[in-house]
Symmetry: C2
Subunit: 300 residues, 2 copies
């Protein structure tokens, strides 16, 4: 039995930005086979040429107006800080009925930018965030299976049209993702804790060690645990600077809480308070083991 | 061509503690095939029975004296904090010529304990630490290939006999490891940075999040980056409490340096200082990428 491809998201899809996230959407849509055309918008003519060569999209252009001219659905997959400018251009160039969604890792800042730039089209806008990624970025980094069995959080505004929401939901379903709805402010708090804070901590650790005199040797004697722990510190610096700045108000409280807890642990280490250390580490292990058994499919 | 198994470590090997580290040594020696007998010492008769059933050792006992009676080489693979007691028993029970080595993650504290307990036998003692492990522990956690292509750091004291050092080097070679020699205090500083600090940071993060009101939801929306970042927080709490306490004097300075750097980043986030964030994250990415390309064989 061959199920007909899911097409509730429209025939013509335009993707602004073909990096890890946008490029993976394009590749996944190809495989799913429901869209009549996929057009990509990128920054340079070289990337446009390369995107078509790689078979990611049917057409690629550096001209946003051209990219979205016939679009039913526009996916904005650029860094959060670049979205306001893209929205301003879209408000001028997009067909009136087209649905617009984004993939930004922060939702409140993107919604504010959308309200300011999209004007009367705000009802067509469905804010979204796929909970999937790797530490790689750029045109070559994407892959079609990135969203399979992953969660995508949609954070509609009070103005969001029902049919626009349904179209974006259909897009992610076609890519194999599981869609959840959430309040935007709450999304930003949850992601500050599980994603933005860990990135800051990993970047900070590697930077601290890299600036120590013995740095070469330090890395030479690091093992598998260190490799896993620091993987996310190989992520794109500009993208993550952008994310933590845009989500500052949610990142700071959880960062402060962490620094406070770390200082308490420091006290316990200084005082060789084994009972306190064992109980804090034990609570952590219990929570991590529960997380692993519930949410990680591919445990190594 | 079948190379004769490496046997420079002696015919009769006793391993005190058959957890992840000791059990992996036993399993690896079985495969290497150079020892005439491998005897394990464990805490309970159930574990002794199970260890023989699993085929990890030829014999297992809860009686340390029995375990080491005919040994050429004794490997102590218990938590760092338990080593002093084991050394005290060994000083009474071990044949005079037997070589003794340990696998503890901290070296200065173990050497101090060895000096206090081993007395005249201190020349037979070769402190060691395999840079290999997983977040699992116990009798079932070990595997014979754990040390293949891994580094083992030996930190001999001025008293260490040359032949004892050579025997322990031969043991690790037989298991496929690469042996390096290092000063014990320096070892403790390097490992504080690459292993002990990351464990503290990972335990602290998971504990911070687990104690937040929204904890269930937080973990539900965590992705692959979080799973990798927190893997080491599934390690044994008592073992790691023991390690950071034993290595307190090396852990505190690098932890303080880290907290200072994290507070500077906090200031940059609060001030939305994108340039500062991008440059710190960028230095980290550069160092992590270099580390990955030089030292990680099995990149995902
Ligand atoms: N990485 C993750 O794990 C992850 C996960 C979920 C969501 N997201 C979100 O997904 C979005 C894209 O991230 P990504 O990981 O796909 O990054 P990426 O691989 O670096 O791709 C970003 C894309 O945006 C373009 N771009 C960069 N700066 C721009 C600007 N100022 N104006 C217009 N276009 C610009 C890039 O073009 P050039 O290559 O020519 O610069 C590239 O096509 C971000 O909003 C991010 O928050 C990321
Ligand atoms: N885990 C790593 O990644 C790693 C890496 C390199 C070195 N090390 C070092 O290797 C050593 C062993 O660690 P492991 O990971 O193998 O831990 P493990 O799997 O928990 O094994 C520890 C072994 O020591 C025994 N033991 C525990 N407490 C004891 C005590 N008070 N007296 C005597 N025996 C005791 C345990 O017996 P029971 O099961 O009956 O308690 C078990 O056989 C530690 O010194 C550690 O620092 C660990």
């Amino acid at each position: 039995m061959n199920a007909a491809p899911e097409t509730g998201y429209g025939q013509h899809v335009a993707i602004i930005g073909l990096g890890l996230i946008g490029g993976s959407i394009a590749r996944g849509l190809r495989v799913a086979g429901g869209a009549a055309s996929i057009v990509g918008c990128v920054a340079t003519t070289e990337d446009a040429k390369r995107a078509v060569e790689l078979g990611i999209v049917d057409e690629a252009t550096t001209d946003l107006g051209k990219a979205v001219a016939g679009a039913d659905l526009v996916v904005v997959a650029v860094p959060v800080g670049a979205m306001a400018d893209v929205f301003a251009d879209l408000a001028r160039a997009m067909p009136a009925a087209a649905v617009i969604t984004d993939v930004g890792s922060v939702k409140m800042a993107v919604i504010t930018a959308a309200r300011e730039q999209l004007g009367a089209r705000i009802g067509r806008f469905v804010p979204g965030h796929p909970i999937a990624g790797t530490e790689h970025s750029g045109l070559e980094a994407g892959f079609g299976a990135l969203y399979e069995d992953r969660r995508v959080i949609l954070t509609p505004t009070p103005e969001t049209d029902r049919d626009a929401f349904a179209a974006v939901e259909a897009l992610w379903r076609a890519l194999g993702a599981r869609v959840t709805e959430m309040d935007a402010a709450h999304h930003d708090e949850v992601l500050a804790a599980t994603s933005h804070l860990p990135h800051v901590l990993a970047f900070a650790l590697v930077d601290t060690l890299a600036r120590m005199a013995e740095r070469t040797e330090i890395f030479e004697y690091a093992a598998g645990g260190f490799a896993d722990f620091t993987r996310i510190a190989s992520s794109d610096p500009a993208l993550w600077s952008d994310i933590v700045s845009a989500n500052r108000d949610a990142v700071l409280p959880v960062l402060d809480r962490y620094i406070g807890d770390l200082e308490a642990l420091r006290g316990a280490i200084a005082g060789r308070d084994g009972a306190m250390l064992t109980s804090a580490f034990g609570r952590a292990k219990q929570a991590r083991d529960r997380f692993a058994s519930q949410y990680i499919q591919d445990q190594g």
